[in-house]
């Protein structure tokens, strides 16, 4: 496994932990100030961010790997990833609002607040032998 992948795993792990904490926090608050339906909607919104982050991390890792040999292929990987994310979020939002009939504003709140996790920006490039 290359060192870039090790660093990427650290970054994604940290990001996912922050996103999960934010999701749980907003769900708890929405349960206190709203009802169980609002809580489920915020949990659903937060989960959309988690899935989208995993997808983006996977695509960026692939782009970084292929960009060594072929810069053009790196561009293609990133653009495919961006399109996939756009479609994935549209479909998940549509399922939540249209099929599951969850409160749309609560889904958006859960989704928007978990996006704040990207501000928790820290890339740890410290080398640890035989460890990630």
């Amino acid at each position: 496994m290359s060192f870039a992948i090790v660093v990427m795993r650290r970054v994604v792990r940290r990001l996912l932990i922050v996103q999960m904490l934010l999701t749980v926090m907003i769900a708890f608050l929405s349960f206190i100030f709203g009802n169980i339906n609002t809580m489920l909607a915020t949990l659903y919104g937060g989960s959309i961010t988690l899935v989208a982050t995993l997808l983006m991390a996977w695509r960026i890792s692939r782009a970084g790997e292929v960009a060594y040999n072929d810069k053009q292929q790196g561009y293609i990987e990133i653009y495919i990833g961006a399109m996939q994310k756009f479609i994935l979020i549209s479909v998940l939002m549509a399922i939540g609002m249209g099929y599951l009939k969850l409160p749309p504003f609560a889904i958006l709140m859960g989704f928007a607040i978990t996006q704040l996790s990207f501000i928790a920006n820290k890339v740890d490039t410290q080398y640890v032998p035989n460890g990630d």
Binding site: F3, A4, V6, V7, M8, R10, V11, V12, L15, A52, T53, M56, A57, I60, S61, A63, G64, A67, Y68, K71, G74, Y75, I78, Y79, A82, K85, F86, I89, S90, M93, A94, M97, G98, K101, P104, F105, I107, L108, F111, A112, Q115, S117, F118, I119, N121, V123, T125
Partner: protein, 95 residues
């Protein structure tokens, strides 16, 4: 009542089209800039790749947050139209 609802749905559909168009445009421009700098950085300093990949994930996520929230709002207008609900409420109050 039906004419009013048709107007609301029609206007919402046009608005959603415009919203999604601009969200997609913003997202594409942002990704274009970010990934061109990322790949330039790797080509210039390959040893910086781990740092750049991590930073790209954060920058891409932050940049895409706004188009994605706008996308969510567009989905709200399509699948749970709040304007149509307001028209129905107004009609019920009037009758």
């Amino acid at each position: 009542m039906e004419a009013a609802m048709a107007t609301v749905y029609g206007s919402t559909a046009i608005s959603v089209g415009i919203i999604l168009g601009f969200a997609g445009l913003g997202s594409a421009l942002g990704w274009g800039l970010i990934c061109s700098k990322f790949l330039e950085g790797i080509a210039r300093q390959p040893e910086m790749r781990p740092q750049l990949m991590g930073q790209m994930l954060f920058t891409g996520g932050l940049m895409e947050a706004f188009p994605m929230i706008v996308l969510g709002m567009a989905m709200w207008f399509v699948f749970a139209n709040p304007f149509a609900a307001a028209v129905i409420d107004a009609a019920k109050t009037a009758s």
